[in-house]
């Protein structure tokens, strides 16, 4: 496979609002045809970064290169980039069809071409029955599809989506995540989506960037970020993680109670420095048979079924917070556990990640 082409290069971009630095020296490459997610807690600068890509904010510093040309100062109406607004921003006085046609009319395309392109996108987004309705006569999911159709019909080089699923209820959200992914494949346009929902970006993105306080913490595939978080914040923010605080040693972490957690220690951590060892809930085995590098016993405090698997809260001497353990329902059937039971937990050194505290 050939090296994927870079479509958009964000190069040391910063944006300040008075005293607040909303985006702080971010550099990122977004590749042709990928589904890219910007993920971070609320207020970390996601919207600001996206608005700079769309042209509504001008960076104080840095360059934004689209196909190698700096567009940082190009006004929004002159960029081959479209934004799907968080609030959808549909024109309330226009029908669905008029909303979708608007962008093509601005390009002064022939009426016949506008008509056929609008018809095609209305069909793709399953909006044909609603073409003559006004936005106020649509449900949340339908409005969201109109906003999407209105941006997609322009065939932008890059489509920006600001929390596109934020206003939808949970069930509809799951369906729309897959729908967006399917659409992106179908139209072959690069998507950059902003979200504060880590699960959403894990499900949808080809690659993702994790932001905090305007800074880029990590940029990689969801799998790589999940398995090898760059720091403690990312480990905690993405998925669920059990942490054991303590001090670094040469081959792991010594917990407060003196127990040793074996794992690979990052080179930057000198022995004795405050450190935290972590392990994902699904990597922990209940009553492990045979040797495991790490073992502890604990008391089950609570358990909950989640369809195929069982989640246990286990109080251990290793950390002040109970361990979260996920086992398959099969494993749980083989040796049933109940609240209050003493259990034995084990996990491998290879599944332990150690971070600076």
């Amino acid at each position: 496979m050939s090296e994927p082409r870079t479509l958009l290069a964000i190069d040391h971009v910063s944006k300040k609002f008075g005293q607040v630095t909303a985006v702080d020296g971010i550099s990122l490459d977004i590749r042709e045809n990928e589904f890219f997610a910007l993920l971070g807690p609320s207020g970390c600068g996601k919207t600001t970064l996206l608005r700079m890509l769309a042209g509504f904010e001008t960076p104080n510093d840095g360059r934004i290169l689209l196909d190698g040309h700096d567009i940082a100062r190009t006004p929004p109406n002159k960029r081959p980039v479209n934004l799907m607004f968080q609030s959808y921003a549909l024109f309330p006085h226009m029908s669905v069809r008029a909303n979708v046609s608007y962008g093509l009319e601005m390009e002064r395309l022939p009426a016949a071409e506008i008509r056929s392109r609008v018809d095609a996108i209305l069909a793709t987004t399953e909006l044909v029955p609603f073409a003559d309705r006004k936005p106020e006569q649509l449900s949340g999911g339908q409005k969201q599809r109109v906003a999407l159709a209105r941006a997609l019909v322009k065939r932008p080089r890059l489509l920006l989506l600001d929390e596109p699923l934020g206003a939808l209820d949970k069930k509809l959200r799951g369906a729309m995540q897959l729908e967006l992914k399917r659409l992106q494949h179908e139209v072959g346009i690069t998507f950059v989506i902003v979200t504060h929902d880590q699960e959403e970006s894990l499900v949808m993105a080809d690659r993702m960037a994790v932001l905090k306080d305007g800074k880029l913490l990590q940029c990689d595939t969801p799998h790589a970020i999940y398995e090898h978080p760059a720091d403690r914040f990312v480990a905690d923010f993405i998925g669920v993680m059990n942490f054991v605080p303590g001090k670094a040693s040469s081959d792991g972490v010594v917990a407060v109670n003196g127990a040793r957690i074996a794992g690979k220690v990052p080179a930057a951590l000198s022995p004795g420095a405050p450190a935290v060892a972590s392990v994902r809930p699904e990597r922990i085995r209940l009553f492990p048979s045979g040797e495991t590098a790490n073992r502890t016993t604990g008391t089950v405090e609570a358990l909950a079924y989640h369809g195929l698997d069982l989640q246990l809260h286990v109080r251990t001497p290793l950390s002040p917070k109970p361990f979260l353990v996920r086992v398959t329902a099969d494993a749980a059937d083989r040796r049933p556990v109940a609240s209050g039971d003493q259990v034995e937990l084990g996990w491998d050194a290879a599944d332990v990640r150690i971070f600076e505290e």
């Binding site: 109406n77 934004l83 609030s87 921003a89 024109f91 309330p92 601005m106 941006a151 322009k154």
Partner: protein, 194 residues
């Protein structure tokens, strides 16, 4: 007279309202200034305008009446349009730019159509106020017989006793005012109902 001053006031009032709402952060002083003509008693405004016009050595006439009416109508149009803009979703203006529209096209195809009911309501209100306004017109008209508004005409005629013509004229003024005011209310209610 009423038509011209209404047209000018509507145009300026709408633009002013948009300008104020877009730059809301420098608000308070400007806000007071815009509302001033609504609050100041007509007679005070009339005298102030009269002395202002004579300071500039303007010849009085229809044009000075129009100017004076624009001053106080502006405040009314502006406040009606601003009330609408308070609930205006500015992201649709950005969406329009994002889809490739210039600032002018955005105003013509998005901003104006959305706020149109408020603009018309403001215009009707201004027109109503202008048609039967007497004091300001009286002060700024000057001596010329050519420049009389309807209420001034009625006032001039009343000095010779109440004639059927006066009754007829008064009825017309009232009918026009009530119609315009009702229409304006209708439109405004439509906006709130949205």
């Amino acid at each position: 007279m009423a038509v011209v001053s209404t047209a000018i006031a509507t145009l300026l009032g709408t633009l002013l309202a948009i300008g104020v709402e877009m730059r809301r952060q420098y608000g308070m002083g400007l806000e007071a200034l815009i509302f001033a003509p609504m609050i100041i008693p007509d007679i005070v405004l009339a005298i102030a305008l009269l002395s202002f016009f004579s300071m500039l050595n303007l010849t009085m006439g229809l044009h000075t009446i129009i100017l004076a009416h624009v001053v106080f109508n502006l405040a009314f149009v502006c406040s009606v349009v601003r009330a609408r803009l308070k609930s205006f979703d500015w992201s649709i203006v950005e969406a329009s730019a994002d889809l490739g529209a210039s600032a002018l096209t955005t105003f013509r195809r998005v901003t104006l159509p959305v706020i149109a009911p408020a603009v018309i309501a403001g215009a009707l209100l201004a027109f109503t106020l202008s048609v039967d306004e007497f004091i300001i017109a009286f002060f700024t008209a000057g001596a010329g017989r050519a420049s009389t508004t309807l209420p001034m005409q009625i006032y001039a005629m009343i000095r010779f006793g109440i004639t059927p013509e006066i009754n007829a004229l008064a009825t017309i003024v009232m009918a026009v005012s009530i119609t315009a005011l009702t229409l304006s209310q209708r439109l405004n209610r439509g906006i709130i109902g949205q």
